[in-house]
């Protein structure tokens, strides 16, 4: 896409973001009998069931189209139009909700909280992209994700990040996923939705600091392509697992690669694996020794980070409003009289006793203890496997998409001179 069109698009988005900033996040004072109108809520209103299923149908169509465009049609141009539609429909029209990324939390909550039942449409939003990825790679990221679309359309001068930085930052999505599941499972918070940087832009309304967050990500996205997708998106973790085993993933060349290297710099996401360097082959024996060491280190990573997580559970559990409130009321009894503290006043007016609150907080904290053990252990496993992957030697003879990290955006295709 023409550079100037991208710049215009970026400034249009920024303009709307700033327009959102000027809107107050409080409704005007009621003027009884003087034409007062109830303002529209910031969060989307509940949707009719038929419309929810319409959204699922649209997602299914968009996923099918994106997969077809990436794998069969091999068209970057049409992929851009599709992602533009996704941005308008799932982003601006649907106010960024519901999205597959946030649905992770609904799934986690429904697994761990017997009192919560996930809706069929939410479950489909969670499952459909994973299923498509298992067959066609991350075509969801390419054309069906509004968060991906808004970032993809503003890439202006993407920088290639050094591998060590990519690998290190690449651990953040795992951590984010772990915390998001932990928080959702304990009924603490839906942090993926809360810190969605673009939802304020989609809804044209958000708290000032959330608008700042969205703008910061957009500005960053001009130079670091898709920063949220690559270094934060928790759903991307699941997609990368699926994509690794995808059956019909996009290929750069439609036939045999002629190793012309034209595509080597085409990917703004550094997601093209280069052919194996002969020099690396000579160090294979040294690599085997390191492989064994790293393999043995995995259980140590799991146990040590699991233990560290369990030790941090008291602090982490303070993120839960109930735990925090119980601690606050115990440590600062004078808060009982603070009429402006809505949480305290809501608790006092509920008629619930302090003993019940403390009991509930204790149960939640115990859940955090187990959750933090598992979360720490999982992060230890991820780190251990990441280190192990550094020394696993895979011979590649062609320029190939890195299946885990490739978004199937089809940029590289147009660089390939090979035709069918």
């Amino acid at each position: 896409m023409n550079k100037w069109i991208k710049i215009s698009l970026l400034f249009t988005l920024l303009f709307y973001s700033l327009a959102g900033m000027t809107q107050k996040q409080r409704f005007p004072k009621p003027e009884f009998g003087t034409g007062y109108h109830q303002p529209t809520p910031i969060t989307p209103e509940p949707r009719a069931l038929a419309l929810e299923y319409t959204d699922v149908f649209v997602l299914l169509v968009v996923l099918s189209l994106a997969s077809w465009l990436a794998v069969r049609k091999r068209s970057r141009k049409w992929m851009v139009w599709l992602s533009l539609f996704t941005l308008l429909y799932f982003g601006f029209y649907r106010d960024g909700c519901i999205c597959s990324i946030g649905s992770i939390q609904n799934v986690a909550l429904t697994i761990f909280d017997p009192g919560y039942a996930i809706s069929v449409s939410t479950l489909l939003f969670f499952l459909l992209p994973l299923l498509f990825t298992l067959y066609f790679g991350r075509t969801f990221c390419a054309g069906a994700c509004s968060l991906g679309a808004i970032q993809d359309l503003i890439i202006i001068k993407p920088l290639s990040l050094p591998e060590w930085l990519r690998k290190t930052l690449g651990l953040i999505p795992y951590l984010y996923l772990t915390i998001a599941v932990l928080f959702a499972a304990t009924g603490t918070d839906f942090i993926i939705c809360r810190y969605d940087p673009f939802v304020g832009i989609f809804r044209m309304d958000a708290a000032f600091h959330m608008i700042v967050l969205g703008i910061a990500f957009l500005l960053m996205g001009m130079f670091v392509a898709r920063p949220y997708c690559r270094f934060l998106c928790p759903y991307g973790v699941l997609l990368s697992w699926m994509s690794k085993f995808s059956k019909w993933h996009l290929t750069i060349s439609p036939a045999a690669c002629i190793q012309c290297k034209l595509c080597s710099d085409s990917c703004p996401f550094d997601a093209i694996d280069l052919p194996t360097d002969e020099k690396q082959v000579k160090h294979r024996i040294w690599g085997v020794n390191r492989f064994l060491v790293y393999l043995l280190l995995i259980p140590i990573w799991v146990l040590s980070l699991g233990f560290a997580g369990s030790k941090a559970h008291t602090w982490i559990s303070k993120a839960n409003p109930k735990v925090y409130l119980a601690e606050l009321l115990i440590s600062k009894p004078e808060v009982h009289n603070d009429e402006k503290n809505l949480d305290v006043q809501a608790f006092l007016s509920s008629g619930k006793s302090m003993e019940i609150l403390v009991n509930e907080a204790t149960i939640i904290r115990h859940k955090f203890y187990i959750g933090c053990w598992l979360a720490g252990g999982f992060m230890g496993f991820v780190i251990g496997m990441s280190l192990l992957n550094q020394v696993i030697f895979r011979t590649k003879s062609d320029y190939e998409p890195d299946k885990s990290n490739c978004y199937s955006c089809a940029r590289c295709i147009s660089y390939c001179p090979v035709k069918k």
């Binding site: 009621p30 003027e31 960053m220 606050l328 402006k340 503290n341």
Partner: protein, 322 residues
């Protein structure tokens, strides 16, 4: 280093992102939350145009009550009830008589001959010396008596609990009730969300009953038929707002209404037609979140305001006409 400026810019952005997320996380704790942004700020409605104030406060009489509940003015004497007693006080503040009761009275009305004391579920009739003549106990369990008035040997008792006005003879014989309903679609019946249900008879002998949930004052014949009514719903000074206002009202000798409100406490004057005239006591005269004051008027049109929080009767006199 290539792209040094861009890298520096990216580092700044990364810092901004981390700062915003950290700020949001810590600022959303119960003890860090800002004041409720959705709370209705009623302060602007408490501020009024001082040119609308028609009365000056001329005197305050401290009263020996811990919980005063009602007041009436008759024959140059102030009758105040509360706690478990009634005090008869001269306008100078001198205590004339104190009459004890065995329960807490809710309201008082004094006619030419008798003193009617309303309790929660009964009415006591005293003679002018304060001696009990009769007890009326024909009320139901859910009765809450809030106001009494008398006209043409008919006593009207406002029952906020049953949302009706009961009629009695002077001897206490029940003579029916006024339910406030009519064929007129605009009249709903009495809406009484809280025990503020006042009635009074104006100088022309007309019975007026407040319908607080409708912010209206309704005129009924002695037979209980609706004759006329007016309402003023607004948070602005010229109207009534909230669940149940006006809380109390009385009549000036010229038939104008004196009203008092709870919530944003203020005492105001309305013409007999219901048109807003001016203010007797602005909200600044009262404690915040205090009780609505009961009202009484003497023959000269001076207004007695029973301030239940400051435990005093406050006298308001009309300003000199310029």
């Amino acid at each position: 280093m290539k792209n040094k400026g861009i890298v520096f810019f990216l580092i700044i952005l990364a810092i901004v992102i981390v700062t915003v997320v950290t700020y949001d996380y810590y600022s959303s704790k119960p003890d860090e939350l800002p004041a409720n942004p959705y709370a209705l700020d009623a302060d602007p409605f408490a501020r009024i145009d001082t040119s609308l104030i028609m009365f000056n406060e001329s005197r305050d009489l401290a009263i020996n009550f811990s919980e005063p509940s009602g007041m009436c003015f008759q024959d140059g004497k102030i009758f105040v009830v509360g706690d478990q007693k009634m005090q008869i006080i001269e306008p100078s503040g001198k205590l004339i008589k104190e009459v004890p009761f065995d329960q807490k009275p809710t309201c008082v009305f004094v006619s030419q001959k008798n003193i009617f004391i309303g309790f929660r579920k009964s009415v006591s009739v005293l003679n002018s010396d304060g001696l009990k003549i009769a007890d009326w106990n024909t009320f139901s369990d859910s009765t809450v008596i809030t106001s009494i008035a008398e006209k043409s040997e008919m006593v009207f008792v406002a029952d906020a609990g049953k949302r009706i006005v009961r009629k009695f003879t002077l001897q206490g014989k029940p003579m029916g009730e006024i339910a406030g309903k009519s064929g007129n679609d605009q009249i709903h019946g009495f809406i009484i969300p809280s025990p503020y249900f006042e009635l009074a008879v104006n100088p022309d002998g007309e019975l007026w009953i407040v319908n607080p949930g409708k912010h209206s004052l309704e005129n009924y014949t002695l037979n209980g038929e609706l004759r006329t009514w007016w309402k003023a719903t607004s948070v602005r000074v010229e109207g009534f707002s909230g669940c149940c206002n006006p809380a109390y009202f009385a009549f000036l000798p010229d038939g104008c209404f004196v009203t008092s409100e709870k919530g944003t406490i203020r005492v105001k004057i309305y013409k007999p037609s219901g048109e807003f005239l001016g203010i007797v006591a602005a909200p600044s005269k009262f404690k915040e979140n205090s009780h609505a004051p009961d009202l009484a008027v003497d023959n000269q049109g001076n207004i007695y305001v029973l301030d239940m929080d400051r435990k005093m009767v406050r006298l308001f006199v009309r300003k000199e006409k310029r």
